[in-house]
């Protein structure tokens, strides 16, 4: 397999991080404002915010996972990764508008929950995001190490260290503002690379003639555009997981608080289309590899994309590919650093340690120190090559458990702190039982979990319909889905533990949240959120 020389890789990375650093210098201020450091000026324009949203949502794993899906499930595989991931960006838009309406000056989701419920709800969101962004940082540094290791004579640890230092260097001083500004350049590089690489590999493999030659290699399911296996094993669990990720994620919320309010809709629509085109397009490389009979190196599907690039692209295009992956992982890593610093600044220091009266200068340095510590931890854990799958499952489940309580808390005035916290804890516990089969999923226990999951399916459809068409449509479609889904779910979902456990988290959190909320008589005044969530600095 072709490798870039050590000099070429070092020059490419120096050029990439050097240019990014120079971009960030253009906006650097001697005295940054703490609000600007976390959410810019709340009036970012369409081009910059749409690019940043797209770049943040695409991480290095998006390419690898989409291509793996294309290779494994054939014709519809890339769609079952990229399309659902893209639609989830669109799905946040109506809820995002509500977040902005209630708390126009918010910095974190946890801060809104603090104003709505109190400390325990806030810390559930803050804690899940610290864990989620920490893991994401580690995954992105790991991807840099793996890329450098595969495509150059340098070692894994070299890649991890260069990416860690590179990302920190341009994000540290101006925080979120640097992240958004550099996202634009990074996305442009990603799109340009994808636009050149996809057709180039397609025609290298034989162009349209590849289909006549390769289609007989596919199994019946792989050749079926409406493959049931692809939908149940890839599409549905991923759909449910990214829905949770979209709602609970601070990196997305931060951009939502930063964009000019009247531009939220076009920003989210453009990011949806941008994400879909890049990720599905690169996922097609997996489908092409399947048609061409390519065997992944060492049987690892994560090697597929670098392998295709190194085998079928000329050296200059391999360099482009290298920049594309470094761009994708850096844009997500800088967003994670900005998210982590905002959470520690606002949720840990501002709202708790300083009891709502923070010192802006100290707060800013706490944010910067958080970035340094997070980078160091990310680099150390990445270099240990830990199995991150289990941790990701925990975070995904935690976010699945908070989706309904978060949304209900911001639309329904009867949801209490007890209902929120109780719902999340109950749902997470039930998730653990189903995901790791702590109880055998048979007989009455299996049926109970499948019924909870059927309700969870109704909740997913109900929430999506509610966001776009209002309460009545949401309730009717949610109930209908649960009722129609239940008979199919019983005796069937137990064979799909990932889907069963994720949907159970949705179903149980909703049942507990609604039950406890209905038993309370207190009503909440939503106007008070905007009064409690304010800017930390007025100048």
């Amino acid at each position: 397999m072709f490798q870039l020389s050590t000099t070429t890789v070092i020059l490419l990375m120096l050029a990439f991080y050097g240019l990014t650093f120079l971009m960030s210098l253009r906006i650097g201020k001697k005295k940054e404002s703490v609000d600007g450091y976390m959410v810019s000026n709340n009036t970012i324009g369409f081009g910059m915010s749409a690019a940043s949203m797209t770049a943040t949502w695409i991480w290095a794993a998006s390419f690898y996972a989409a291509a793996s899906s294309g290779y494994k499930y054939g014709l519809s595989g890339a769609l079952h990764y990229g399309l659902w991931g893209a639609l989830m960006i669109l799905f946040i838009y109506p809820f995002g508008k509500r977040f902005r309406q209630l708390a126009p000056k918010a910095h974190t989701l946890g801060e809104i929950m603090h104003a709505r419920h109190g400390r325990s709800s806030q810390m559930i969101l803050a804690g899940s995001n610290i864990l989620g962004s920490g893991i994401s940082l580690m995954v992105n540094f790991t991807a840099a190490g793996a890329l450098v290791d595969v495509l150059s004579p340098l070692s894994f640890i070299h890649g991890v260290l260069i990416a860690g230092v590179g990302v920190l260097s341009y994000t540290l001083w101006s925080g979120f503002r640097s992240s958004v500004l550099t996202d634009f350049g990074q996305l442009m590089a990603m799109i340009l690379a994808a636009v050149i690489i996809i057709p180039m590999i397609f025609f290298q493999l034989g162009g349209p003639g590849l289909f006549a030659e390769g289609m007989p290699r596919l199994t019946g399911e792989q050749g079926d555009f409406f493959s049931r296996t692809a939908a149940l094993e890839q599409g549905a669990p991923f759909f449910v997981a990214v829905l949770a990720y979209a709602i609970g994620n601070q990196t997305i919320a931060q951009r939502l608080f930063a964009v000019r309010e009247d531009l939220i809709k076009p920003t989210f629509i453009t990011a949806t289309i941008g994400y879909a085109s890049i990720v599905i397009g690169l996922g097609m490389l997996g489908f092409l590899a399947l048609l061409a009979g390519v065997q992944p190196l060492e049987g690892d599907l994560n090697n597929l994309i670098p392998q295709m690039a190194a085998t079928y692209l000329p050296p200059f295009a391999i360099g482009l590919f290298f920049i594309m992956v470094i761009g994708s992982l850096s844009s997500t890593a800088d967003s994670d650093l900005s998210a982590l610093s905002a959470i520690v600044m606002t949720d840990v220091y501002g709202k708790n340690l300083a009891r709502g009266k923070p010192d802006p200068t100290l707060m800013l340095w706490i944010g910067r120190l958080t970035m340094v510590v997070a980078t160091a931890v990310g680099v150390i854990f990445a270099s240990m090559k830990l199995d991150i799958l289990t941790m990701l499952i925990f975070v995904g489940a935690l976010w699945g458990a908070i989706v309904f309580p978060v949304i209900a808390s911001l639309f329904w005035d009867r949801v209490t702190n007890k209902a929120f916290t109780g719902a999340v804890i109950a749902a997470f516990a039930m998730f653990l039982v189903a995901r790791f089969e702590l109880l055998p999923m048979q007989g009455a226990v299996g049926t109970l979990f499948e019924l909870c999951a059927a309700i969870g399916g109704g909740v997913v459809i109900g929430l999506m319909s509610f966001g776009f068409f209002g309460r009545t449509t949401g309730c009717v479609l949610g109930l209908l889905t649960a009722v129609v889904f239940a008979p199919f779910a019983v005796g069937f979902l137990r064979d799909y533990p990932v889907l069963l456990s994720s949907l159970t988290a949705y179903g149980v959190s909703t049942l507990v949240c609604v039950g406890l909320s209905l038993s309370a008589r207190k009503r909440f005044d939503f106007d008070s959120i905007g009064e409690r969530v304010v800017a930390f600095q007025t100048h």
């Binding site: 369409f46 749409a50 014709l75 799109i191 057709p199 289909f211 941008g274 599905i280």
Partner: protein, 43 residues
């Protein structure tokens, strides 16, 4: 699916990505002009 449809299915994504690239660049140019006119910052 015919060969033509399959080819379009694979190659339509880079075409859409190119359109997104153009839209974002035009939007950024407008944002920069507006920021300069109003004396504000982009981010």
């Amino acid at each position: 699916m015919s060969t033509l449809a399959l080819t379009a299915y694979v190659l339509v994504w880079p075409v859409i990505a190119t359109l997104v690239l153009i839209v974002l660049c035009v939007a950024l140019y407008r944002d920069m002009r507006a920021a300069r006119r109003e004396g504000t910052e982009l981010v």
